[in-house]
């Protein structure tokens, strides 16, 4: 996050002084910028924000019998730690599959459900940005406004479209998918996620793509490139920050989603969130497994976030801060 480019104008006199006397200037700047009070306040908030997670982290290493009877903080008085929870969590699970299996399911859901909407949205965003046509502005506003539709509102009609198909007045146009009895069917989940991501994806990518200088595209056109080449060779590389930032967003959202998967995924294809939720046992007596499972589920989003974090804010803020 600190690696974000700052396009703040540089005061020339200050820059010259800084050049002349870099070390002293740097020390002064640091002293002026950091303040002990601010650091202290920030640390306090950070601690508050971390305590709940830390508590779970400690619990995930405590023997199950202990964490069911005593608070996690007592571990500092009489410590006892084990890795057993993690092994147990991976091999136990809900009704149909174990946490380990649903971990793989989550991967199989999240990766295509991130790539598919991004490519489709990038195509549409390019058309909105660089191919003039009548009613472009209105259509774009309409797509943006589709964010209004709550996912919950679309679930039932979409589900019935997938399973029962589209039959108008007794005439079958589309019989629906017959995917019952398939081992791991993620198709409907991919499609549903792709659909729900579309408005925001088009909006964010459009903001970024439309800010690419028009001269570049004009020059490529003069050289004889069609829109296909321009899109593939210029837009995709230039819009990488926006694409990456949306990819993080979409991946986190799909990975952490409970609702869409609950509705669309067959029981053998349920993702991590669903299994994690049913891991607590009927009476909530296996919390210690849930605590280990939670950390297993956090690992992947954290890796994704750190791998792509330098793009995160830059892509999201394009078009939002200007004006």
């Amino acid at each position: 996050m600190a690696t974000i480019d700052i396009d703040a104008p540089v005061d020339t006199r200050a820059a010259r002084t800084a050049q002349r006397n870099p070390r002293k200037e740097e020390r002064d700047a640091r002293r002026k910028l950091t303040s002990r009070g601010a650091t202290f306040a920030a640390v306090i908030i950070a601690i508050f924000w971390t305590i709940p997670t830390f508590g779970l982290f400690v619990t995930s290493f405590r023997p199950g019998a202990d964490s069911n009877t005593t608070g996690w903080w007592t571990v500092f008085v009489n410590p006892s730690f084990t890795l057993q929870n993690y092994f147990d969590a991976l091999t136990s699970g809900g009704t149909a599959l174990t946490l380990g299996e649903s971990f793989l399911n989550s991967l199989a859901i999240a990766i295509p459900a991130t790539l598919i909407p991004i490519s489709i949205a990038a195509l549409a965003a390019y058309a909105f940005a660089w191919i003039p046509f009548k009613g472009r502005g209105i259509l774009f506003v309409f797509v943006f406004a589709l964010q209004i539709v709550p996912i919950q509102m679309a679930l039932v009609p979409l589900l019935s479209l997938f399973s029962r198909g589209l039959t108008i007045a007794g005439v079958g146009i589309f019989p629906g998918f017959s995917l019952r009895g398939i081992d791991h069917s993620f198709a409907t989940v991919w499609i549903a996620h792709a659909i729900f991501a579309m408005p925001l994806a088009i909006f964010l990518l459009h903001n970024f793509i439309s800010e690419i200088p028009g001269e570049l595209i004009e020059a490529a056109r003069v050289d004889g490139a069609g829109h296909g080449q321009i899109f593939f060779r210029m837009i995709i590389p230039l819009a990488m920050p926006a694409i990456a930032s949306f990819a993080i967003f979409q991946f986190l959202w799909v990975w952490n989603d409970l609702l869409v998967a609950t509705i669309f995924a067959p029981s053998a294809s349920l993702p991590l969130t669903q299994t994690l939720n049913s891991l607590s046992g009927t009476w909530g007596d296996r919390w210690y497994l849930q605590s280990a499972g939670t950390f297993i589920s956090i690992v992947v989003p954290l890796i994704v976030f750190f791998a792509l974090q330098r793009f995160f804010v830059r892509g999201l803020l394009a078009g939002a801060t200007k004006g």
């Binding site: 996050m1 600190a2 974000i4 703040a8 910028l33 950091t34 601010a38 650091t39 306040a41 640390v43 908030i45 924000w49 305590i51 508590g55 069911n68 009877t69 608070g71 903080w73 399911n105 991967l107 295509p112 598919i116 490519s119 489709i120 191919i131 943006f144 589709l146 964010q147 539709v149 709550p150 919950q152 679309a154 679930l155 009609p157 479209l161 007045a169 005439v171 079958g172 019989p175 398939i182 791991h184 991919w190 659909i195 729900f196 056109r221 069609g226 829109h227 296909g228 986190l252 952490n256 409970l258 969130t273 994690l276 589920s297 956090i298 989003p301 804010v313 801060t321 200007k322 004006g323």
Partner: protein
């Protein structure tokens, strides 16, 4: 480019109306064929027809593979499809007889294949193919007579079609269907006027979910954004900025299911020794333990809200921190020279400077708060009047199979989100004008 376009369009100006009429007639024909198909009536032994392959057979095949194996296969196949789309966009609009026939072929073949992979029933397949061909013909003709030259409309359609299909089937059609459903009863057979809406505001489930949703939408964005802003401002002047940001951001990456589990260990309530942090603190100070998630009225909703705020603050902080850094330093210096203290500078320089980022953050969190489902589902399951619209909607349709009530709740939620989107659209328009 511009001159070519003008040259081509001038001699054709008169025939523009002719083009319009031909397209209109073809469109009317397509609609007529569609109606005719409907009038044909149901066939008792309708069976799906395929070309030998279909979307369904592909999904069945890939569903049988190992989950990890499915990832590369889907990505590659989808990549090939996108590649074909890009090739079409690149080559089809070029002038010349070869490209002309390429466009002809694409316009007629793609719609037919697109319809056929859906496996239409036998009794409608003739009409489907007819409509597909007619649609292709309209597209081709409109493209051929386009003001900007042949191929222009074609590439535009190809660019937009995938997104348009997804949006129309997945959002526009369901939205309309939900609004219609909300006026019908449980089974969807009888028209009941506004009964479902009356139910929404009088039934305890519906009533509390509306109240709670309003509370969520009012409190969550304000608290999360303020804490995020204050933290971003502190961190901006603190040592180890990157490290400090990480801790507050971490909840963003945690699923609401995970967050629910984390906070169970905060809110837990039981007889005897407390393992919930909050009750441990309460009893340590000599108080009586409280069942936080059952505490009515509103206290339990506030407890759920705290989880949401906890997870959204990091998002607000990251965005606001980036825009605080983009506020020009000389404005700060000028204010400092004028004798403004740190607090005054924060409110008079920083906050106005990041106004548009603040709006983005506030609306994003508000929309997320309005649509929240997971936290309620995981932590209370809507018990003790903690339900919200987003949860109750699913609850009604899953548990009670009551589609009418569920749809009415959805429409109410929709009405809550509406002003936010309108405001954003207006904002967007304003920014366009400035640019």
């Amino acid at each position: 480019m511009a001159t070519v376009t003008e040259q081509r369009s001038t001699p054709r100006r008169l025939s523009r109306t002719v083009t319009g009429i031909i397209i209109l007639v073809a469109a009317v024909l397509a609609v007529a064929a569609f109606l005719f198909m409907l009038l044909g009536g149901p066939s008792p032994d309708a069976a799906p027809t395929t070309l030998g392959f279909s979307l369904n057979s592909f999904f069945v095949w890939i569903g049988g593979l190992h989950p990890l194996l499915q990832i590369p296969i889907v990505v590659v196949i989808f990549g090939v499809v996108v590649g074909v789309i890009l090739l079409l966009i690149e080559y089809a609009p070029r002038p010349g007889p070869g490209y002309f026939w390429l466009r002809v072929a694409a316009c007629f073949v793609i719609p037919v294949i697109a319809f056929m992979v859906l496996r239409p029933y036998q009794n409608s397949v003739v009409y489907i193919v007819g409509i597909a061909l007619l649609a292709g013909a309209i597209l081709f003709f409109a493209d051929y007579r386009a003001r900007e030259g042949a191929g222009y409309v074609f590439q535009l359609i190809v660019f937009l079609a995938p997104a348009a299909i997804l949006l129309l089937t997945g959002l526009v059609y369901p939205a309309i269907s939900t609004v219609v459903q909300s006026f019908f009863d449980k089974t969807g057979a009888n028209f009941v006027w506004f009964d479902n809406y009356v139910w929404t505001f009088t039934n305890p489930y519906g009533f509390w979910s509306v109240i709670n949703t309003v509370i969520w939408a009012l409190i969550a964005p304000i608290v999360a954004t303020s804490i995020g802003l204050v933290y971003a401002a502190f961190v901006d002047r603190a040592r180890g900025e990157k490290f400090l940001k990480l801790w507050v951001f971490m909840p963003v990456a945690i699923s609401f299911v995970g967050a629910g589990i984390i906070w169970k260990f905060v809110y837990d309530y039981r007889q005897g020794e407390q393992i919930g942090l909050l009750n441990a603190v309460v009893t340590w100070f000599g108080g009586q333990p409280i069942g936080w998630l059952d505490a009515q009225p509103l206290l339990n909703t506030i407890c759920l809200l705290a989880v949401f705020i906890w997870s959204q603050t990091g998002f607000a902080m990251v965005i606001l921190s980036a825009s605080i850094k983009a506020v020009p330093a000389d404005q700060h210096e000028a204010a400092q020279l004028d004798g403004a203290n740190a607090l005054q500078r924060f409110f008079n320089v920083t906050v106005p400077g990041i106004r548009s980022a603040l709006i983005v953050v506030l609306t994003t969190i508000t929309i997320a708060a309005l649509k929240v489902y997971d936290i309620v589902a995981v932590m209370t399951g809507g018990r003790a009047n903690t339900s919200v619209l987003g949860f109750e909607m699913v609850n009604q349709q899953q548990r009670f199979q009551s589609y009418g009530h569920s749809s009415a709740l959805a429409v109410v939620l929709f009405l809550f989100v509406l002003p936010l989107i309108v405001y954003n659209v207006l904002q967007m328009r304003k920014q366009k004008e400035i640019r």
